[in-house]
């Protein structure tokens, strides 16, 4: 149902304050990226929610497939030795 006259979809990311990552907050339609920033300002930062905005065309995002989640993420499940809590260290040893 999308016609050429429909504005494309952009995903919006907001940095809440300096020192924090940009975080995905939602999406909006805009004719181009510059206008997407203007719309994002009106839609997602009406109450000082951010100090910086990113927009990216939704169609440019490549995402992993949920059906691949097992193959992708489960192999890490049994590698508990990757976590510091795996190792029992005698309590006489300090600052480790």
């Amino acid at each position: 149902m999308t016609s050429p006259q429909d504005w494309p979809l952009y995903e919006v990311f907001v940095r809440a304050k300096r020192g924090l990552d940009h975080k995905h907050v939602g999406s909006l339609h805009a004719a181009d990226a510059a206008m997407a920033i203007e719309h994002a300002r009106d839609l997602y930062t009406r109450r000082q929610e951010g100090v910086s905005l990113w927009v990216v065309k939704s169609s440019d995002i490549v995402a992993s497939d949920p059906d691949d989640a097992q193959a992708l993420f489960d192999p890490a499940e049994d590698k508990i030795y990757r976590h510091p809590t795996f190792y029992d260290i005698p309590k006489d040893v300090e600052t480790l």
């Binding site: 149902m1 999308t2 429909d6 939602g26 339609h29 805009a30 181009d32 206008m35």
Partner: protein, 327 residues
């Protein structure tokens, strides 16, 4: 509430057992309070129910701008005007968050807008009532937004991730809407006798429609079971309505106003019991025969048509900017 049209469209539900294994995994995820995300497999009935519910909610926000927008140019002070503009802008924003959430389910924005403008889509019956006085704006904030919050807070825990996240954002903003309404109502209730009469008149007209926003009584609501199992809905209509009544009666008493219900009384358990609701009125408004149904849709159509040149100009501007960037 904002999705009353669902009353007519009960999903064929679990007949969509496309894949019983996937179905079991889907339900297990919901039972474990995990969210369903856009790219996850989901039964078609879940997808269709959510598209209808989220889009009806979005349409309600968009149409909801009209009764209040009516008073922006006539607000009684510059501060009240600023507040009202901010509130109406929020409603537009809520509509935009929700349309975006609906789009993650695979429906285009243009199709959603088309459903609203063609009259095929439903929106909350409450926005088909007129706002003849300033006190109506106060009453809408206090009662209509108050009822909306009651319904929307559980939706923040809805099983569908994008809807739940949009509702968190909406609820944060909605509290301002209710408080500014009560504040405006308080000013009138403590004002001149004429202002007090205005406040009472608005309460008389909005009380019953606000209670009907929660939808038909549980005994007549057919789609609750599936929606509860899928954690789209967490409380029944009557539970939410009762909670709203219990919160609101003392607020009305504080204003010194009288709720237009001769049968209203507090039961021994502390809950307030209301008199019977006139569901024939609710059904008439929902079917398109409310005081302002035709006017609201006509206004939305006009706004969409009047904005056509802006949408086209933005596309032309984007094309020009892109061409210059290449040159």
């Amino acid at each position: 509430m904002y999705t009353q049209g669902l009353l007519e469209a009960i999903p064929k539900a679990v007949s969509a057992l496309e894949d019983s294994e996937r179905m079991a995994r889907f339900q297990a995820r919901i039972d474990a309070e995990e969210k369903i995300e856009p790219k996850d497999w989901m039964p078609d009935a879940y997808r269709q129910t959510l598209i209808r519910q989220i889009s009806q909610h979005a349409h309600s926000e968009i149409v909801g701008m009209l009764p209040e927008g009516n008073w922006i140019s006539r607000a009684p002070s510059l501060l009240r005007k600023s507040i009202l503009i901010a509130k109406v802008q929020d409603e537009g924003g809520h509509g935009a968050y929700l349309y975006s959430a609906a789009e993650t389910l695979g429906i285009a924005r243009s199709e959603l807008i088309d459903q609203l403008l063609s009259g095929r889509a439903k929106y909350s019956s409450i926005f088909n009532y007129p706002t003849p006085s300033w006190a109506d704006i106060a009453a809408i904030g206090w009662l209509v937004d108050g009822a909306a919050i009651m319904n929307q807070i559980p939706l923040c825990r809805c099983s569908y991730g994008p809807y739940a996240r949009a509702m968190v954002r909406v609820c944060k903003e909605e509290s301002f809407h209710q408080r500014q309404g009560y504040h405006a109502m308080l000013s009138l209730a403590r004002g001149t006798p004429a202002q007090q009469r205005m406040a009472q008149d608005a309460l008389n007209r909005w009380w019953w429609p606000a209670l009907m926003m929660f939808g038909p009584p549980d005994t007549a609501s057919q789609h609750t079971a599936v929606s509860v199992r899928w954690k789209i809905k967490r409380f029944t209509n009557d539970e939410l309505r009762q909670k709203f009544v219990d919160f609101t009666v003392p607020q009305a008493q504080f204003l010194g106003l009288t709720l237009p219900d001769a049968q209203l009384q507090q039961a021994a358990d502390g809950h307030y019991q209301i008199g019977p609701l006139d569901w024939s009125e609710f059904n008439a408004v929902l079917k398109g025969n409310g005081p302002c149904n035709a006017e609201r849709i006509a206004e939305r159509r006009a706004a969409h048509a009047d904005g056509a040149w802006v949408r086209a100009a933005a596309i032309a501007h984007a094309a020009k900017r892109a061409a210059r960037a290449v040159a």
